[in-house]
């Protein structure tokens, strides 16, 4: 299941890349960029790295 999660994450990443470089147009690109950055910030706050195992 973890593997599947990783593959899904990879596919989402590829999709975001295509969206942000404008394959679907500028508006989607901007929207995609904003969603990606907000998503990243959510991850930073919800999963603080300092508490990670070593």
């Amino acid at each position: 299941m973890r593997r599947l999660g990783g593959v899904a994450a990879a596919l989402v990443g590829v999709l975001f890349f295509f969206i942000i470089v404008g394959v679907f147009g500028v508006r989607f690109a901007i929207a995609g960029l904003v969603v990606f950055i907000l998503g990243a910030v959510v991850v930073y706050r919800a999963f603080p790295a300092e508490g990670a195992e070593l």
């Binding site: 973890r2 990783g6 994450a9 990879a10 989402v12 990443g13 975001f16 890349f17 295509f18 942000i20 470089v21 404008g22 394959v23 679907f24 147009g25 690109a29 901007i30 960029l33 990606f36 950055i37 998503g39 990243a40 910030v41 991850v43 930073y44 999963f47 790295a49 300092e50 508490g51 990670a52 195992e53 070593l54």
Partner: protein, 470 residues
């Protein structure tokens, strides 16, 4: 042996400017990084931030110093190697660079001393102000010089009167068609460079099991910044692409590796070509099917315009532009991948324990520098055969200096710059090997504005002093 002055002048400028760009790219990125770190230190009082600041400050100082002296070379090299270009473009770009010196160079230089040496002479707030001024200085500097270079790419706002260039509209000169896109592209490149440098060094420590808290904080910060920045960068990059496609179509035609006026449909995305400029075709080409149409025309079957759309005497050399562009874009894809992976690893709580990822970070330490250099090669070789696009050809812009002089000074530059970069690398690796100094328990900047009024207080021999050495 007959030496060609125009080739030598171009090689000399290409060498000195390539060498130079490495250092401001690092300095712009690290200066802002240091400002962020110092802000975090002032806000949280966590001594780890001061430790990070001091570590990266010494590398920043060396990079800044080399950037300054190699930059001075360029401001004179316009005249040394390309006097007719200087004569023509001076009224436009000379004015821009003059303002760069006034508003940015002096600002950086003026506050750099306080930033590097004033931690114990001035209070923490004034010191932070100095750090910010240096960072702002690098930003303003980048703005002016990008305006100047962008003017060379997409000239505007000038007229020819009595065979000399006169500026008629400063707004058009500065805010020329490509500047608003190329400036954020370059700034983001600099910030990405710093992010990967910081993350890479941190990753190295994690792999060695040393300086754990320093390493974790910097890997976290570096990857966090890098992820957000690379998303922005591929967005901005696409905008730059679109602008250059409109204003310098020959550059983008050369960049994609297609020769035919209209490529096949659907068009592949080439990753490897053996171009034959003389016969205007590729001897070999390999790429991913459909991807060319998708990425370049945003459709499934669109045709791409090839270099034969540009008259032969106005074509840049495809081989250089193509591979420089692929290196830059390939690294961007790699960076984006690293960003996504870092998000996933954070989510799974394994950001610091995934060894393959840490090794990738180590290899990606210089990725920003290489990508930036590659991007500049696209920009400058793609503009050829023009030095001012559409106005002045490079070959008509060469100084009346004999080839032997150009060759001997080229050799001198290579030798001297080799010393600079070797020393920089040796000392940087030394700093990394030594690791961050242990942060003292009472980690304040021990200066205060009160002490600044009485500098003799600081000369107390009872104070423990390191002289920033081994």
């Amino acid at each position: 042996m007959r030496l060609d002055p125009s080739i030598l002048a171009r090689i000399q400028f290409a060498f000195t400017v390539s060498f130079h760009i490495i250092f401001p790219t690092m300095s712009i990125g690290l200066a802002s990084f240091l400002a962020v770190i110092e802000a975090l230190w002032l806000k949280t009082k966590d001594p780890l931030y001061l430790q990070i600041y001091k570590f990266w400050l010494s590398i920043f100082a060396m990079s800044f110093g080399i950037g300054v002296v190699t930059g001075i070379v360029l401001s004179f090299e316009f005249g040394l190697g390309f006097a007719p270009f200087a004569n023509m473009a001076g009224p436009a770009i000379g004015s821009l660079i003059a303002l760069e010196v006034l508003t940015a160079f002096f600002l950086e230089a003026g506050f750099l001393g306080i930033m590097l040496f004033g931690l114990h002479r001035v209070g923490p707030k004034l010191h932070f102000f100095a750090t910010c001024m240096v960072a702002v200085g690098t930003l303003i500097s980048a703005s002016w010089i990008l305006a100047a270079n962008s003017w060379m790419q997409t000239p505007a706002g000038v007229e020819i009167r009595d065979s000399h260039l006169t500026v008629v509209n400063w707004r058009d000169v500065i805010v020329n068609p490509s500047w608003p896109y190329r400036l954020p592209h370059m700034l983001t490149a600099a910030y990405l460079t710093a992010s990967f440098m910081v993350a890479g060094v941190g990753a190295w420590y994690l792999l060695r099991g040393k300086h754990q808290s320093f390493a974790r904080r910097t890997v976290s910060l570096g990857t966090a910044f890098a992820t957000v920045l690379i998303a922005g960068q591929v967005f901005i990059g696409d905008l730059v692409y679109g602008t250059m496609l409109k204003h310098q179509p020959s550059k983008m035609q050369a960049a994609e590796g297609f020769w035919e006026k209209q490529s096949q449909s659907p068009a592949p995305y080439y990753w490897f070509i053996i171009p034959d400029q003389t016969n205007q075709r590729n001897r070999f080409e390999a790429g991913i099917p459909y991807l060319g149409s998708i990425w370049l025309t945003h459709s499934l079957r669109g045709r791409v315009e090839g270099l034969r759309n540009t008259p032969r005497d106005r074509q840049p050399i495809m081989g250089v532009v193509f591979y420089a562009f692929r290196i830059m874009y390939g690294l961007a894809i790699l960076m984006f991948t690293m960003g996504v992976v870092s998000l996933w690893l954070r989510f799974r709580g394994r950001l610091f324990s995934s060894r393959w990822f840490l090794w990738m970070l180590v290899f990606m330490t210089p990725s920003g520098i290489i990508a930036t250099l590659a991007g500049w090669y696209v920009a400058e070789t793609g503009r050829q055969p023009w030095v001012i696009y559409g106005m002045l050809r490079t070959v008509d812009a060469i100084s009346p200096v004999p080839a032997q002089a150009l060759l001997s000074t080229l050799i001198a530059f290579v030798c001297v710059y080799a010393v600079f970069i070797s020393a920089f690398l040796i000392f940087t690796l030394h700093i990394i090997r030594r690791g961050p100094a242990a942060a003292p328990p009472h980690a304040d900047a021990s200066g205060s504005l009160k002490n600044a009024f009485r500098p003799h207080v600081l000369d107390n021999p009872a104070r423990v002093v390191n002289r920033r050495i081994a």
